[in-house]
Symmetry: C2
Subunit: 148 residues, 2 copies
Amino acid sequence: MGMPASDRLGIDLHLADQELLAAKRVAVEPAGLTVPQYAALFVLAENAGISGAALARACQVTPQAMAVLLRHLTDRGLVERAPHRWHRNILETRLTDRGRAALELADDRASAVEQALHAEFTSAERDHLRQLLARATSALRRAAHALD
Amino acid sequence: MGMPASDRLGIDLHLADQELLAAKRVAVEPAGLTVPQYAALFVLAENAGISGAALARACQVTPQAMAVLLRHLTDRGLVERAPHRWHRNILETRLTDRGRAALELADDRASAVEQALHAEFTSAERDHLRQLLARATSALRRAAHALD
DNA sequence: CGATCATCATCAATGCATTGATGACTGTCA
DNA sequence: TGACAGTCATCAATGCATTGATGATGATCG
């Protein structure tokens, strides 16, 4: 094979993200939410009336994926959607009170996860990690573009 | 909300992993594989005759998820499964020639992605990044355990 | 005014992941 | 020998993600 698994930096990156996802799942589950649902509600909380497509972009998923997710949330009464006054084509999406309550419960625990991550590092280490991750991100973007 | 989004280190981590996943998708797609399928074949290449459950553990997914994935791969003739000689209960899984060919094609391109990631950093930076990621991983594991 | 383009929503097919439950088999220990 | 624990496979329900295709709407430019 092209490269020994132990040399693949991507594996370490992925393991860390897997662990993050698992921790967030544990955090958010008592609120009756999944991680993507939590992410959507989080964005929604500060962007009332956003369109489904814009919400999808903010959450880095396709509009189709977001549509399914929003359907579940509307069915459960956590968000509500209504046609825009002028642009009748777009559905404005808003948190309901129940949605806001679920989000707050979830965010308390999800914040604890982020706090733990924060507390693991010194300020300098955090800056360095962010910088390294940013460089990895753009290197990967370039690599994908080159292969494409 | 508990913590401003800009302070959440987890977001940067997740963005980097998303980019990695996207790049790998581009890499393995011409081989007719998805990223999880590529991962399974990769492990399978060096562990002929492994059980489905063990393969699932190696790939960090549930046995159920792996079972579905293996079904697709066997249907397409990339792997073959046969009952173990003694432990009739377990299905030994092996690459077929077609599976090996698909894996090689995919791994050439996937390796290029890992090479690009490798090339972005100096040796010292790579070590540091790995160390930071390892610390993040264990901090997250502890956080999840504390919440649970 | 009318063609074009961008944005939005939605249908369909496919694949990956989870939890939970069930049944079959092996090996061990009392 | 017979109960028990561990491992394995598999069924079912639910949710998230992709690509691809379709159609509706509003804005822009010739």
